[in-house]
Every structure is written in structure tokens, then in C-alpha cells.
Symmetry: C2
């Protein structure tokens, strides 16, 4: 990780290797873009066959350029790229954007070429963006660097975009442009052979003018590093991402077009762990970025509403409430103040309907009261422009309130923006985030509240349980590995769980029927008896499990049957039979590059039918574990239902954390399932478990 | 209901009673709008104090107007409205828009004025829109009638809007305008004292140029009539509505600003019963209207995708799949064809990635193949405009394919629309529905598929069970009513259910302990014994219920206890105790104006914790009943789970229909609850029930 990307984003001169006179070619479009965007330094077209391109002197080779070259685009066919990178090295070029496609993504030959040019770049300390990419844009007027073949010319602003897919990046850039919102920096790094998304994210994180970062990725090269960097960035400024590939079909499409390892669940979990705000819709994301880059972060979820039209406030409230925001009533004091200043037909409550005929003075008073009311954390405004109202001065009041106040404002601004150009400009200059629809404004406000939740959440601590016995686990796992066994026996599984103080129902392994009877007496009936063997994974499928055995007679009978069916050599796993209680599932699964994912859910239909299970990336902190328990849909059952006792959140969360620590300590564990645990009140016990290496 | 609204929507002349020279006034803005919108007939400002307004001769009274007046706006204060309506009657005015507010919505005095002017209007056969409303717009070039004080001037098109809230109506109108989409007619009728939303809907339904109708209502005056009219309209053309007031807070806001009886559940059910497409977001609704008013209805849910960029197709597929659409593979034959025509780097499958360098010929071939492939019902296109491609001719191919083909096309068109103005115009002239984002295009396509579902759904039939005994029910209900009882006794409840052949567990009522013991022997142990009295509603709360009574001894004991606690005079309700099976709930509830709402759900946690219950407005047809059963989230449990038997869909659906018929036959029943029913395989029985009048 090297996040000093100044040579890339702040070039003082740019060369284009493969510049072309053909208008419909990348080698021409990039020069056009640099010139149109008013790049501050010299642009050097490199082409041995022509003297001039778009009025600029062309050079046969980058080595012939008279001045220094900070950044070079390469747009020539793959076989020629390594040689040109070598030339760039000799010339002292600091960064290269390889726009050309046809490398790793096309097979072995392309991969060899990619490795070739990369090793040459490394030799000279040159950073490379791409190949198979668009490039970068920096709207800083000191640079005006449009090193990209796209077509949207962003105005300076405070939102920076990094997108693995240039297609999506261009859509986002165009969306901000269409909304009249400026942008700071842009990058799409294609194959990402050198400069990574993580490095760009880190770079944006340190850029003072960047107030919000927008991210689109279908896969992350090194998720652990990404999470660690992104967590630092998200405490300083919001990072917003689209969760791509969230359906199987979508993930398939993403894999095939980018060659990465996608998978919606893990991307979603990675983002969550990193404190990144995720969105399903690009438009929602853009709206959120506009609000987050212009407004202060609210301290809570309580919204005061000012409206000059009825229906849109119904829609706004529906959306705000659906998002979990609160619409508290006005205080008596506030209501009293407003009764003195509002029009007679106004509705003095929250929502405060100032009515369509309200003018600047009414809005001013409404805004003052809402800003002062301690029970509101943010202000939502529906502002339609009635043709019989002085709308420009209403807009001035809104802008003034935003400037003076410390609470965020979002506005559903309903108008013909051309006819009300003056009003629109006042709101824009006041950096009021304006949206065409009540729902979209409400969702943008919700994103501010979500970011407050992320920023103010206690990170929690990853507990290090010192009572665990790592040696025991090491020895059990070592033994199984040495025998090339992937599935652990019940004895091994329960041994490991006990070593990590995960509460299991009392158990004993017996070598034969007589020993098993003695074990059952020792544990106390009723018991469960299972045939124990490394060969049998799904014991109940082969008649290897008998539950609720009440006495020695029953026990003898079932064990005799097992011996008949499974052979005389089997061992018996004898365990206390527990009353059912609430059925829980806790599990862990290794995921390439990420570590382990820890899952929690209620057993039975909740997991199997309702898919009500929550995941988190290990190591799971104490606050994360508790949040997992509260995040399942059937959460009322956890607190008790129909007279049943609830379960102990504390003990359940401790088991989640101990399992997280176990798989973190022993990454060789590929899968671990406690399924089910039985929990009633303070009692919680694993009654079946499975570990696979 | 009188849906001949021509005098309103097709006026040949308009008078404005209360015309004003003040620019920031409604009495001036309406004249400005009529003139700017190029109204085809004469406009008569009515104002006794001035000679001219906006260059038009003003008249002291509508009676002084020389020519005929089809439509009159009234914008003067409420007390003067009845007199002016009288004048309009004398003048022969056919329709009036009362823009003025301050009538019913302001209390008794206003209500009296409203009734006064309405009775005068009726006397003369004048239709009235409003009061407290915007008015209407008709973009038909034969009329160009902008009888409204809003500010958006729609171009002619095929979408008509009717909105109770003018605020929302104006937002929708502006949204279509901003998208460059024409509109046909517009109406916002405010208090709706005369011309109703239902009449306007019916009128739009018969207008040939209207291809899609957009509706916003927070309440419906006469839901039964509305449903019956809307069902006729929705078989001919799509009707789209926002569900407003879907949260409690939203419903509250809607009630207070419109004075209507809102309530999201019933509005949602009314729309569903009427075959109306509902939306949570105004923007999604607008996008859907654009697609539905320009594209044919697809025959199914299978989508072929053409894309010239990677990332957006991942996002599109995520959204399409989430919406339940299918992305089937290309046939071998189609793949073979495409391998011959696509660029080498293209990805020949579904999604078909023609790659960014694809030109008109590649799109043409892709479109031809997708149109011909019988396994696709619709075509989704991601079209970004690369600066190195002949985009105008790509657009021409898309427009040509849409014109020649019978499958709908929606397009995620990603560009700077000004720079690519030529391309944009070709797509617009070709009526290709274009959207900025992949998700929004995908959702618009989904709305086409949803409308196909509505149009092609079998209406089903409302079964008339001839085996029922209405006389018995009539007598039981009559008896209870004559005693002013609201809660029916168990005997009465089970008597009614049996009369309608709703299967109940065998039961008998006994006057005393001895009779009850005999009844239990007759029914056969185990039994349930309940204290039966009209005074006890929640029997189990007072120790009045004992279940799973195994023999006469137990029965004697529990009854003695009940006598001790509840008095010697109680009767006993004895019923067969059934094994539990799957717990179901079926219920009915009277809703003002709507009739009854019928509910179905799984019992216990499913209803109480997960709120997994489905409602439908009575009368429930056979197909609706089956659809209700399949609509609960826990539907896998209905088909059986973990070895348990499923339940009989046929028998369950029959009970739903019989209950629907019962409450339809006897609307005096306010609430009916079968809670629970126990169902295993073909066996299904009511084990507890309640009826309230």
C-alpha cells in the first residue's frame, strides 16, 4: 500500500502514447478532453507518423519530448506496451495509465504481457493504473486533469468517485453533473494491476477537498487490507458504495466481465465491517452523496418537517418513518411562537404546514423555530414554488438558515427549474441539497442519519478470552490433519468447544455398549446416544442418533440396533438430553481473502424457511455480536414470546465471540456449525456441532 | 356516476370569475396559463373594477359575456361563490372549477356554503370541480385547455394524471415534463364535492389517446363503486397509483390535510382489487408510466439483455432478478448466429455484451436475434455512448427494432443528453423508454411484466355455495341483535359456522356438569371444556378454558373449579380436542365503505411476531383465495416442512370463500375470527372462533 498518488492525480504534464488524428479513437478523444477541460500543463501527443494532432506538436517517442512528463497514457496494442513502459522509465515518467485492453482478462498471453510491463514499471518506480481502464480526472483548477476518454466534464466539487467498472463510474459522474453537483476526483482502474481501489480510497481520504467518497467495486483484491484502510477513512468522511452482484445472476455477470471473485454476501459484509454506507440504487447513492458532502451530520434521527404543500408531506412522512426516522411533536413553547407568526390557515405541528401562500417571513420563522427546538436533529423541507409567492426570498431564508444553523437541511424542491432559475440558483449557492421527489429527499436525509450511526457507533472491542486452552485445540487439529481427515469426530469437536469454554451439554465417549451405559448413568438420564465415527457425517440419516433415552433398558435396545446396522466396532457418544428451549444456530465459514464469516440465527424454520440469519466478518467485537443477535427478524422471540422465557443476550454474544476467536486462532477450520444450541433464560448449551477442516 | 366530463375537459370558452391584474395572484396566473398554453377559445376575465386584464377585455359579470361560456373558474372568497354559481347557471355555463378554498375543510360554516353552491349547480346541471382545487389541463391541440394555476406546460402525449393532492399532481406533471414525456390530461379535484376521482378515471379510461393513467388519492369516497369502475378501466389500459399513508404517521398526516378516511392497508387492498399497479415511489411510477404508455405488454417475464458496458449490466441483472424476472440463456441457434456477427471480444450469451466498440450493425444483429428468440418476452438494453462509436445509427437501429418488433424494449441510456442530442432525439422519436440508471430501467420493465400479470390473470369466480343455511344464521343474528348483544356465544358462533359448512371440531353445549360429562363421552375424549357465557369474551383469562381433558374424572375436576370461579349458572361448551397440526388464522373485518376485509395467515408467531398475514377485500374469488394462501411469507410451511404433512390448499381456500360469503350475506357481522384452525393434510377444523356484531 502506497497511497501517495500525487503523480497520478496531480500531473503537471501528460503524454499520450498512441495519439491519433482519427476523431473517433481513444488516442484522439483523450487529447480533446485534456484540451477542453483546460489542462494546466503541456500535452504531448506521441505518434511517429504525424507532426501535429489537434493543433499540438506530436513527437515520435516519449523520449523525444523536450520537457518533463509526469503522466503518460498508453493506448497502443498490448504487444507494444512493455517497450513503451521501458521508454517511460528512461524518460522519468512518474505514472502511467494503460487504457489498452487485452491483457490478463484475455488469457495467458495477455497475462505474460501484463507481468512484463508491470515489472518494468516497478523497476523505475512508476505507478500504473489499468490496464483495460478509463483513467483519472482531477477537477482541481490547479490541474484540470481530464486523463480519461469519457464525456462528462465535472465542475469542481467535493465528491470523489472510484469505480472498478468504468461504465458505472461514468453513469455516476454524469448523474452528479445532471444534478448540477460538482465533483473532486474520479478514477476507474480497470484490471487494477498496480494502483488498487484501496490505495485510491486512502488517497481520497486524505484529500481535504473531498467530503464524500463514492465507490463501485465488484470485487476487492485484499479485503483485510481494504477493511482496515476503509475503517480509517470512514471515521473521517462518509464512503458510499453500491452492492453489486447481490443476486446469484448478478454475481455471475460480475464475475464474467471482471474476472474477479464477487459474491454479494461477502461484499456487503466487507462494506459493513468497513463502516461504508451501502446502497442498492445508484440514484439513492448519488442523492446521499449530495447531502453528505454539503450538510452537517445530524446527532440523531428526529426530524422536523416544514412543508408548503400537503400530499408531498404525506409521502415524505411515509418514507421517513419507513426508514426508521422519528417525527416528534413540536414543544408547546415552539407551537406558541409559531402561532404568532404563521398564516391563519397554517397547521402548527410537526409536520409544520406553512401552506402554499406562505412567504419568506413565514419560512424564516419556521426555520428559526425548528433550528432551535432541541428535540429535532435535522430539518426536512417540502418547497413547491407557487406562482403567487416571492420564492426567491423564501430560498434566501432557507440558505441563510442552513448557513447559520448546525442541523442538516434537505429539501424536496418542486418546480420548473428553468422558470424558477433565480430561486434554484440561490438554493444551489447555499449548498442546500434539493431533490425532485419527497421520497428521494427523505432517503437522502436517512443517509445522513445512517452515517451518524456509523460515526458514533462504539467500535466495540474484540475480546481476547484468556481462559481458552489453545494447546488442546492445536493438538486435536494437528492430529486430524496428520491423518488427512477433514471431518472431526464428536469427541474432537466437543473437545475443541470445551477448550474454548463454549458450553456443551455433558457428554462422554464410550468404546462399547457397557461403557456407554455407565456413562449414561453418570450423566443422568434422559440422554442422547450417537454412533461416533469419523466416517459418519450425517448420523441421523443412517440411524445413528437416538434422543430422549429414558433408562438403561431403552439405551441397550438402541445401541444394539446401531451395532447391527453400523458394525460392532463403533463407539458411542453419550450426551445429556436437554429440554428444547429456543433453538439457535451459530456458525463460522472460511472465505478466501476475508478470513471467516460468523453466522447467527434462530434454528428450524427461521433459518431453513425464512432464511433469517445474520453474518459478520471475524473477528467479531462485543458490540458486533450483540448487534447480530438484535438483527435477526425474529428478534421478539429472543426476548421471549407467549410466556416463554427469553434467552441470555450476554451468554449468546459470548459464544459468538468465542467462536470468532477460535476460528481466528485456527484458520485451518473451514467450517464450524453449532446447530442447534438450546437456550432458555440463562441456560444455553450446544447440543450438536460439526467442524470441517 | 356520470363520466361525460367533456364540458370540463373540452371547453370551447373559459371565464375567470375573480380575474385580477395582480401578477402574483391566482386570478391572474390562470389567465396567463390559458394564454401561454394557447387555449383555442375565448378567455373572459370577470372583474367589475377593471376593463382589461393581460390584454383581454374584462366583464363586470359572467352574465355580461357576449358569447357562450363552457367552463368557469371561480377564485373569489367563499361567501360570494353561491351567487356566482347561480349566475353561471343563468348564463348556461356547463362546468365550474371552484379554486377557492375555505369550505368543508374549514368547518360548519364552510360546509354550509359548499352545500349551497352545490345545490345551485345541480339545479342547472352544472358539473363542479373542487372547491379547494387546482383544476384541469387538456393538452389536446384542439383545446389546449390549461385551466389551472400550476406552472408546468405539458406537451401532448399519452399519460393522463388525476390527483387528489394538487401538490403531488404537480410533482408528477413536472417529472414527466423534465423527462421530455408528453401528457394528455390532468385533473386535481381538491375537496371533490361533485366530480369524483372515479368519474375522472372512467373518463380517462374512455379517452382513446390516453394509454396510461396515473392516480394519486389519499382516500376514496365510494370504494365499491371505485373498484367496479377501475376494474373495467384496468383491463383496457394500465392505471398506476402511489400508496399514500402506508405508515401510521403518514396516514395521520393524510387525514389531517384532506379530511378523508385514509388508511394504507385499505387503500392498498382497494388498488389491488381494482387491478391497479401500486408504487411506493413517485419516480418509479413515472418511469413505469413512460414504459407502459409507449411499449407493448410483454407476454411473460423472460428478459433478453443487450449491453455495451459491463458494470451496469451487473446492476441491471441484480434488479431484474430481485423483481422476479428471468434471464434465460440464449438458444444454441441464436448463439451461433451471433458468433458470426458480433465483435471478437463480445460475450455471446444472455446478457449479450456487444462491448463498447460495437456499432450499428452489431446492435442491429443483436436486436434481430433477441426479437426472434421465442424464449424472450422483452428486451433490456444498456446503451452508453462511447465517443468513438456512431451512436446516432445505433439509436436508429434500436428505434427500428422497436417499431418492427412485438416485444417491449426498455433502455438504460447513459450519456450527456445535450452533447448526444441527435442520438437522444432519435430514441425519443422512436418512443424508446430511456432511463438514466440500470435499476430504474429494470424496474420500469418490471412494471410492464406486472401489468401483463394483471391483464392476463384469471379474474376467478366468486363461488355461491348453495348448501348454506341462511335462515339459521339470520335467526341467530336476529336473536342476538334483539338482545343488543355484540359478542356471540360459542353456541351461536359454531351454529353460524356449521350453517355455512365451515368445518368445526365436534361440539356440544351442556347446561350443567352432568350433561357436559355425557357430551364428552358422546364426542369422545380427549376434549376441550369451556365456560360458555355471553358475558365472557376472553375465556382463558378467567380460567374458563381447559384443554386436552383425558377422562371423566379430569373433566369433573375442571368443571367444578369453573363453577367455583364463575358461578353455578354457567353452561359448558364441550369440544373434541384435536392434535395440533399447522395453526392457521382466517378472519373478516368490516371496513367502512369497502365491505369486509378477509385475512389469512399462519397462527402463533407468524401472525403475532412476524406479522405474516394477507388481506383481501370481500367477495373473495376462488383464485384470490388461493393467491392469498400462496402469498404468506411462510408459504413453505403450508406445503409441509421437516417431514410434516402440508395442508390442503383446496379446503383452506374453500373456508376463506365461505367466510367471505358469510360476511357478504350478513354485513352486520363486524368481526369474525377463526383463530386458530388446525390443519394436517386433508383435515382442517376450526378450534376457536369469535364473532362480533
Amino acid at each position: 500500500m502506497n497511497d501517495n498518488l500525487d503523480p497520478l492525480f496531480k500531473p503537471k504534464s501528460v503524454a499520450l502514447i498512441g495519439a491519433s488524428v482519427k476523431e473517433l479513437s481513444i488516442g484522439n478523444v483523450i487529447i480533446k478532453n485534456l484540451l477542453h477541460y483546460n489542462f494546466r500543463g503541456p500535452v504531448y501527443p506521441i505518434n511517429p507518423k504525424v507532426d501535429e494532432i489537434r493543433g499540438l506538436k506530436a513527437y515520435p517517442s516519449v523520449l523525444d519530448v523536450p520537457g518533463e512528463v509526469d503522466l503518460a497514457h498508453i493506448v497502443i496494442p498490448p504487444p507494444f506496451v512493455p517497450g513503451e513502459v521501458e521508454n517511460c522509465g528512461k524518460k522519468g515518467v512518474k505514472a502511467i495509465i494503460v487504457n489498452t485492453a487485452g491483457f490478463k482478462e484475455m488469457g495467458a498471453e495477455g497475462q505474460a504481457l501484463e507481468e512484463d510491463f508491470l515489472s518494468r514499471a516497478r523497476k523505475y518506480g512508476i505507478r500504473v493504473v489499468g490496464p483495460n481502464c478509463q483513467g483519472i480526472i482531477n477537477s482541481d483548477p490547479e490541474f484540470n486533469a481530464y486523463c480519461n476518454f469519457t464525456f462528462t466534464y465535472p465542475k469542481p466539487g467535493h465528491i470523489s468517485v472510484v469505480a472498478q467498472s468504468g461504465g458505472v463510474g461514468a453513469v455516476l459522474m454524469q448523474a452528479f453533473y445532471d444534478m448540477g453537483i460538482g465533483q473532486r476526483m474520479y478514477a476507474s482502474n480497470g484490471n487494477g494491476s498496480d494502483v488498487s481501489i484501496t490505495e485510491i480510497l486512502s488517497y481520497y481520504g486524505k484529500d481535504e477537498e473531498t467530503r464524500a467518497i463514492v465507490l463501485y467495486a465488484e470485487s476487492i483484491e485484499n479485503p483485510k487490507e481494504f477493511i482496515s484502510i476503509a475503517r480509517q477513512v470512514t471515521t473521517r468522511k462518509p464512503v458510499l458504495a453500491i452492492t453489486a452482484g447481490r443476486t446469484d445472476k448478478g454475481a455471475e455477470a460480475s464475475r464474467s466481465h471482471i474476472g474477479g471473485l464477487a459474491g454479494s454476501i461477502s461484499m456487503d459484509l466487507i462494506y459493513k465491517k468497513a463502516g461504508i454506507l451501502t446502497f442498492r440504487s445508484q440514484e439513492d447513492l448519488c442523492h446521499a452523496a449530495v447531502a453528505l458532502s454539503s450538510q452537517p451530520v445530524p446527532k440523531g434521527n428526529r426530524v422536523g418537517i416544514i412543508t408548503n404543500t400537503g400530499g408531498p408531506s404525506v409521502i415524505a412522512i411515509d418514507e421517513l418513518v419507513s426508514c426508521g426516522l422519528e417525527i416528534p411533536p413540536l414543544s408547546e413553547k415552539a407551537a406558541e411562537k409559531l402561532h404568532g407568526t404563521m398564516l391563519e390557515s397554517a397547521s402548527v405541528r410537526n409536520p409544520l404546514d406553512v401552506v402554499a401562500t406562505a412567504g419568506p417571513a413565514h419560512f424564516k420563522s419556521a426555520l428559526e423555530v425548528m433550528m432551535q427546538e432541541p428535540q429535532f436533529d435535522s430539518i426536512y423541507i417540502n418547497f413547491v414554488t407557487p406562482p403567487f409567492v416571492d420564492c426567491e426570498n423564501v430560498a434566501r431564508e432557507i440558505a441563510a438558515a442552513a448557513k447559520a444553523g448546525t442541523k442538516p437541511i434537505v429539501c424536496n424542491y418542486m418546480t420548473d427549474k428553468e422558470k424558477w432559475g433565480g430561486t434554484s440558483k440561490i438554493l444551489k449557492d447555499g449548498e442546500i441539497p434539493c431533490f425532485d421527489f419527497a421520497e428521494t429527499a427523505a432517503r437522502a436525509l436517512h443517509s445522513l442519519v445512517r452515517y451518524n450511526g456509523i460515526r458514533s457507533a462504539e467500535a466495540g472491542c474484540v475480546r481476547n478470552f484468556t481462559d481458552v486452552n489453545k494447546d488442546t485445540v492445536r493438538s486435536i487439529l494437528g492430529n486430524a490433519s496428520s491423518q488427512n481427515r477433514e471431518v472431526l469426530s464428536a469427541t474432537e469437536v466437543y473437545g475443541i468447544l470445551e477448550a474454548y469454554h463454549v458450553p456443551v451439554a455433558s457428554w462422554k465417549v464410550a468404546g462399547n455398549l457397557q461403557e456407554a451405559l455407565a456413562a449414561a448413568e453418570g450423566i443422568g438420564f434422559p440422554v442422547v446416544i450417537k454412533a461416533d465415527s469419523e466416517q459418519i457425517i450425517h448420523k441421523s440419516d443412517v440411524g445413528g442418533v437416538a434422543v430422549n433415552i429414558q433408562n438403561a433398558g431403552e439405551a441397550t435396545m438402541v445401541m444394539e440396533t446401531m451395532i447391527r446396522n453400523l458394525g460392532a466396532g463403533i463407539r458411542f457418544f453419550v450426551q445429556k438430553f436437554l429440554p428444547k428451549g429456543r433453538e439457535l444456530i451459530i456458525g463460522a465459514k472460511a472465505v478466501e481473502g476475508v478470513g471467516h464469516i460468523i453466522g447467527f440465527g434462530l434454528g428450524g424454520i427461521f433459518v431453513e424457511v425464512l432464511k433469517d440469519i445474520v453474518f459478520s466478518i471475524s473477528p467479531v467485537s462485543d458490540t458486533e455480536a450483540i448487534s447480530m443477535i438484535h438483527s435477526v427478524k425474529a428478534t421478539p422471540l429472543i426476548h421471549g414470546f407467549r410466556g416463554e422465557k427469553g434467552i441470555s443476550i450476554e451468554k449468546t454474544s459470548e459464544i459468538i465471540q468465542r467462536i470468532s476467536m477460535l476460528v481466528n486462532d485456527f484458520p485451518v477450520i473451514r467450517e464450524l456449525d453449532l446447530n442447534p444450541l438450546f437456550a432458555i433464560g440463562d441456560e444455553i448449551h450446544v447440543v450438536d456441532a460439526r467442524i470441517i477442516l
